[in-house]
């Protein structure tokens, strides 16, 4: 039987609402919906299959395609890259950059890699102290200078230190910054020019709604993102931001943060995300 347009619209509207409630950005929902409609229109439904089932399955496929971009194999990148591999963490204020770096150092240590961390947030109150506390707990070298020092100089020192001592990984913590602040964005571009990172990781907040798209796009435009980490998924956030970010910049989500402890870092699994989005 052929699909009734009115029924199609109402089924799609229900699915749209589910996506909005999961924090998928409206622009992303629009694009997925239009793609879906053009694929479905004029299609005939087999006997015994309900319209809801057909559409839901098509929608899930559309979403998996967005999420299953070349997944970022972190362990492989670390194993196969030249030494030291330089990773820079960027994102807007309060998304979990510093905490994510601590979690990754913990993971790298478990796999017997040696690390150096660069305290390149020289602006925020207590930023260097916060990273020092993590460094002490993790027993990892922290390269730092005083508050107000030049972040690029600190990054440079950290890389030199890693080269001299044959350390495997350099992790650069940067200050949170608004993507709409041109000065801070160009400061970040300068840090990239000096530190020459091999990997740039965007840390986004799973609690964010539509703004995740804008953030990811601006950071991608300014310094380029290789992969993203989505933190605070444990705050019951559905994490639709994962879909928004993946769709907006076409880059993979490599990890999700599921808590504040060092162990609370999980590899991103598109199937797991799909289940979350629809429940």
């Amino acid at each position: 039987k052929k699909i009734n347009k009115k029924k199609l619209d109402s089924v799609i509207w229900e699915l749209e609402i589910a996506l909005y409630e999961s924090d998928v950005a409206t622009s992303v929902v629009e694009e997925i919906k239009n793609k879906l409609k053009s694929e479905i229109e004029g299609v005939r439904i087999r006997r015994g299959l309900s319209l809801e089932k057909v559409i839901t399955r098509a929608l899930k496929n559309a979403i998996s395609n967005v999420l299953a971009i070349d997944p970022y194999d972190f362990d492989r990148v670390i194993a196969e890259s030249k030494r030291p591999i330089i990773m820079m963490f960027v994102g807007v204020n309060g998304t979990g950059k510093t905490t994510s770096i601590a979690k990754i150092v913990h993971r790298l240590h478990k796999n017997n890699y040696s690390c150096v961390v660069a305290a390149c947030d020289t602006f925020r109150a207590g930023a260097i102290e916060q990273l020092q506390k993590h460094a002490d707990k993790l027993n990892v070298k922290l390269v730092k200078q005083g508050a107000g020092a030049d972040p690029a100089a600190i990054a440079f020192d950290a890389v030199e230190h890693a080269r001299a001592r044959n350390k495997d990984v350099v992790l650069i913590d940067t200050a949170g910054r608004m993507h709409s602040n041109a000065n801070l964005m160009s400061e970040m571009a300068k840090l990239k020019r000096v530190a020459k990172p091999d990997v740039i990781i965007f840390v986004g907040d799973a609690l964010a709604g539509n703004d995740a798209v804008e953030q990811a796009m601006k950071f991608e435009e300014c310094v380029g993102i290789d992969a993203a980490i989505l933190s605070k998924i444990d705050a019951d956030a559905k994490g639709g931001a994962a879909l928004s970010i993946a769709h907006a910049v076409g880059k993979p989500i490599m990890f999700v943060g599921v808590g504040q402890e060092y162990k609370d870092l999980q590899e991103f699994n598109p199937h797991w995300m799909l289940k979350r989005l629809f429940n």
């Binding site: 609402i17 909005y20 409630e21 999961s22 924090d23 950005a25 409206t26 622009s27 807007v92 204020n93 309060g94 998304t95 979990g96 602006f123 925020r124 109150a125 207590g126 930023a127 102290e129 916060q130 020092q132 506390k133 993590h134 608004m178 993507h179 709409s180 602040n181 907040d205 609690l207 964010a208 709604g209 539509n210 703004d211 995740a212 804008e214 953030q215 605070k232 444990d234 705050a235 019951d236 956030a237 559905k238 639709g240 931001a241 504040q260």
Partner: protein, 286 residues
């Protein structure tokens, strides 16, 4: 750009000689998209737009008002109805407790508030009640130094309630005492209990919920959970200097019935403003 599509639909209404049902349906869809793009809670969006649709069809435009102005006035009216206007913060002697999700800007806002109250000639004291985040005390100590305001804390002590109790005794002479608490979310029962105990022991006069302008659909449910535990008296929306529209604030206010007291518009100590509903709503609708 959704603000633009909303403006275009409103232009259609301006050209129409009277407001017909289909045009209303079209504008309701555009308003829904604008509000959803601004991160307003889905259920609240549906409820608001249903009301806008009903009023647009049933109410007569006021004398001299065009069909378009009529609809705009209704949308605006409904949003202000939810937000309930701004409220002034008291300058009398009182204790403020700051609560909210992780990384929203609680600690930074305490720095700003300390400066705000000091400038009004009030004596301010701050209690470092976040015992979980690494270097939370150090962060507050540095902000206290900038605002020239004393911070009471016990680095190393993991019992937030005892720190708050002792801090309050030490700060009896202060006009304003502000208590910093750690980030937490509704699924962490032990942290929700800690927050409730801090509230009970401090008898804080104000419980401000600090919320990031970029928070999406979790704003409503999380605000509700915080409200059920400490009964929120005011909302502070931060990071409005970014591009986020702050619809989460609307959800938080509608769920707590607590008005927005301040907005944060940057990382520096002076980046605190009184809430201005008309400006907020026009930015929200694009």
């Amino acid at each position: 750009n959704l603000g633009e599509s909303l403006r275009n639909t409103l232009k259609k209404i301006a050209k129409a000689s009277h407001i017909d049902k289909n045009l209303i349906k079209e504008i309701v869809r555009d308003i829904q998209r604008a509000l959803l793009s601004a991160d307003v809670n889905v259920k609240l969006v549906l409820k608001l737009t249903k009301e806008v649709e009903r009023r647009a069809l049933e109410e007569k435009p006021l004398a001299g008002m065009s069909g378009r102005e009529h609809v705009i006035r209704i949308i605006y009216d409904e949003l202000v109805g939810v937000l309930g206007g701004a409220r002034e913060v008291s300058l009398k002697k009182h204790v403020i407790m700051m609560v909210g999700l992780y990384g929203q800007g609680k600690t930074t806002t305490i720095g700003k508030l300390s400066k705000f109250f000091s400038k009004k000639g009030l004596q301010v004291g701050v209690i470092a009640g976040d015992v979980h985040r690494p270097a939370a005390y150090e962060q507050l100590a540095q902000l206290g130094e900038q605002a020239k305001v004393p911070i009471y804390g016990e680095p190393g002590n993991k019992d937030a309630v005892s720190i708050v109790e002792r801090g309050l005794k030490k700060m009896l002479k202060k006009d304003i005492v502000i208590i910093d608490t750690s980030g937490r979310h509704s699924l962490e029962q032990d942290l929700i209990d800690e927050m409730e105990n801090i509230y009970k022991v401090s008898k804080a006069d104000e419980r401000f919920l600090v919320i990031d302008a970029a928070v999406g659909q979790q704003a409503g449910p999380q605000a509700k959970a915080f409200h059920e535990t400490v009964h929120i008296t005011g909302v502070i929306m931060t990071k409005l200097d970014g591009t986020a529209k702050g619809g989460g604030a609307i959800s938080a206010v509608s769920v707590t019935k607590a008005p927005i007291v301040f907005i944060g518009i940057g990382e520096h100590m002076d980046d605190l403003e009184m809430f201005d509903p008309p400006r907020f709503i026009s930015r929200l609708l694009g």
